[in-house]
């Protein structure tokens, strides 16, 4: 009798081959569900790493086009379909990190690099320049910036400016307390806070910095090597 049933079972499953042949309908569905979940997980992981990879790889291309810009080429685009231009390069010599800063935070520029907010002056000009970047990519190192650290900005016009980091604080995005027209030549670096959170939140981490006056030529030559170092490491 039991031989009969197994025979019947085999007949039903005859259409399917290999491993699946040994599963009944219920088991197939369960397995498919598990596979689906696994696939979704893989896709999400892929998406996450793609975003990170995009941030890293684009910086290499940006660096190349920024160097070309420094050499006097105008209308250089990091890649043909880019929708922004490079603006400056920021270096934290003590931490050994560097990144190319883009202009404007509209649209998707932040996915590729730090960006200077369009309604603030260029670094080194009168007022407060604000550069923002993602906490999990380009400004991952911002938490390591300590008061007194030097930050070097190379503008696209070739000017090399040194800023000294001051205090840092945490504020809501719409209550930043940053005044773009404040007296002095200031720089503010901003990223999201808390640093290791995985959710997008309203809080921002803000580092204030002030231009080091009269540091023009001497700083430029003295800091030439630290500026170059991170570039080579890429």
């Amino acid at each position: 009798m039991s031989n009969k049933t197994t025979k019947e079972g085999n007949q039903i499953n005859e259409g399917r081959a290999g491993f699946l042949a040994r599963l009944n309908a219920l088991e197939t569905v369960v397995l498919a569900g598990i596979l689906l979940v696994a696939l979704a997980g893989l896709m999400l992981i892929g998406k996450g790493f793609y975003m990170k990879a995009k941030a890293e790889v684009s910086q290499v291309l940006l660096k190349r086009s920024f160097q070309a810009q420094l050499l006097g080429e105008t209308d250089v685009k990091p890649w043909p379909w880019a929708d922004f231009s490079t603006e400056a390069e920021i270096t934290a010599p003590r931490i050994g990190k560097t990144a190319v800063v883009l202009s404007g935070t509209s649209g998707e520029a932040l996915a590729f690099g730090p960006a200077r907010l369009a309604n603030t002056p260029a670094p080194g000009e009168l007022g407060t320049s604000v550069i923002a970047a993602h906490r999990d990519t380009h400004f991952r190192w911002l938490k390591d910036v300590k008061p007194g650290d030097l930050l070097i900005i190379t503008r696209k016009d070739g000017a090399n400016l040194t800023f000294r980091a001051g205090t840092s604080r945490i504020a809501r995005w719409d209550r930043s307390g940053i005044n773009a027209d404040a007296p002095g030549r200031n720089l503010v670096l901003a990223t999201c806070w808390p640093f290791d959170a995985t959710e997008q939140g309203p809080l921002r981490y803000i580092v204030n910095a002030e231009l080091v006056p009269d540091a023009g030529q001497t700083t430029l030559s003295a800091l030439d090597n630290p500026v170059q170092l991170p570039v080579k490491s890429f």
Binding site: E27, V30, L44, W81, L117, T128, A132, R172, S176
Partner: protein, 783 residues
Amino acid sequence: MLLDTENTATPQRRANSRQIEYLIIAALAAVTVVLLFAMGFFSHAAAETTEGKPQHFAGFVRPNDMGTGALLFPSRELGSFVEAPRLATDVVIDVNGPIMRTRVTQRFQNPSKGWVEGTYVFPLPENSAVDTLRMQIGDRFIEGEIKAREEARKVYEEAKAAGKKTALLEQQRPNIFTNQVANIGPGETIVVQIEYQSSVHQSGGQFSLRFPMVVAPRYNPDPIVQTVDLDPNSGYAVNDPVPDRDKITAPVLDLSANAKINPVTLTVNLNAGFPIGTVTAPFHETDMQTVDEMARKVSLKNGSVPADKDFELSWNAVAGKTPHAGLFRETKDGKTYLLGFVTPPADNLAAGTQPNREVVFVIDNSGSMAGKSIEQARDSLALAISKLRPEDRFNVVRFDDTMEVHFPSLVPATPDKREDAIAFVRGLTADGGTEMLPALEAALRTQGPVEPRALRQVVFLTDGAIGNEAQLFEEISKNRGDARVFTVGIGSAPNTHFMTKAAEIGRGTFTLIGSEDQVAARMGELFDKLENPAMTDIAVAFDGTNAQDITPNPMPDLYRGEPVVLTAQLDGATPAGKLQIIGKTGSQPWRVEMDVAKASEGKGIAKLWARRKIDDLEANAYAVNDAAALDKQIETVALAHHLVSRVTSLVAVDVTPSRPAGEPVASTDLPLNLPDGWDFEKVFGEKPQQAIPEGQRKAALEQSEEQAMLVADRMAAAPTAHAASLIADAGSQVDLPQTATLADRHILIGLMLLAFALMAATTFSLWRWQLRGLILEARDRVQ
């Protein structure tokens, strides 16, 4: 026997187990779907909600929210402001033909015991120009002088540092100015007077003006008191647990009582320049006096309640006397300024003879449009397409660094074609660079010839984030042919300069859509224009006299009911000659001539000309390589006509008349001390004729004192003037963008899902293993 029962029982059992199996399968599938759904939903919701909306607290305001003139003080909440108590407002509007001058005088108070630096805001109507600023702070009088922008700021900063009363009025963007007022002392009264000039709005024979008066309700932040009545028997509260309703539902200052204590007076001296038919003020009670057949004096009724609406006044001419042309002049510094307007005949454009339209929509879906901008663009375009008539023909072009023309050529706007195009638009995402030129070329050149009697219109939706403006302008001016180019600016900060100029060269108009809720209204306005073109190819010439500058240049097309309004500067104080205006309605030529010598005298024409001249100069910036020279040109015009512009600001300096030192200044004797030509009386003292019952008066006074205390509580007043300026500086702040990607979150959720799948797979195989064991065992037992 045994076999028999087996045979009958098995199918039944099998059927039962099948059923259960199906049920389990269905349940599992449902669980999986729900799980996937929830995951997708959560990651989406997280992206939307955690960003946090801008925080608004009752009673705290931001400069852009103000619907009427207000003095704002920095509040204890960084980045927010509180409104200074407004003690009195006086408005005088002089209408002279098509020009109106508005003088606003407002008295405010610093209710706190500290120093503050305030910001005066006033929502200016479009195309208006501020030229006068007078203030009184405490016992000092300051008057605005026009200066080059940097110079003005320097003067202001120096005066501020020296502890003097000072104010600076700068233009941020056209129609948006900020007026900073430094060094306001404890308890001091501030009087602000500004004068601005604008044009009367004309449409379809109706003339109208509008004055912004919407007062933001003031919330009364009484603590919410919740009273609980305990039932004596059960010990439970049984009454309505809603907190004290009276205190929630009556938070607004009683406007009628406030109006008596803090009065608003408004007078319109209407001099229409033609016999007036009817005058109406739809939202306010007014007193109307007839001066003569061409003039009226309109004032707000005494103690009238300021409605929560802007003041509007509209008038028209006696039937049959509607002016179709007018010419006014003003002589200033040996030059004559002319203002002419002509309303073209609208009769030959009956509704039935609307020309067919050929519309090419061009939409920018480059990376800079990502986020809200592309949503607004999609909505606007879908709305525009849905409004086409079946007789119209259309096409859609989208571009980033690539470009796509949706239909091979123009297609009739049949319902299915419209649906098709809307679906295409809805599917657009913002990505890539901005290569506008090929799209523009496609729209202007490759859409085939214009059908006879049809109108070719190109509607361009973009944020204008481009670098090759000059190239694009050239393309438009060379290849526009008969087409009209309309630009629609999308997003919070589009490149308005590019789009205004592109529309001007393309002889169309520029529409700005700043937010989601403006889409319907603004696109509606644009569509009225697109559907009703009245006159094209307008040109102006002077015959027998030397006209230097005619603005606007070139003349735009006219739409139904709109007049041609032009201003010109002529040499000499008494020019003679003829003004000729030619144009085309449909294919019919149209021409009008006016004698310059017969122009009637008008006021403020020179200022209007100057304002338009500055607009023209700004608009032509793309053609001028030397930005400094352009700035200089604008500065010269602005300084000569005392106008605030991008490069000139009003800085107020002390003009207090000398007075014996130590003499106390009470508000009642202030008018005596006013500098020459100043007129502040209206905002001081209550008029005796306003008889208010004593009890009511007292209650109102108490209420406004209470309000003042509330404002004082929320203000961030400083012990010294210097500290006040630091607080004010911190107030104008930069919003920071979202700087967290979802990458980590995606990876985390992905890992969790993988772990879950792994566990499930293990459980599954274990279960299967055991099951097979059981089955085998059972089989063995049977055998």
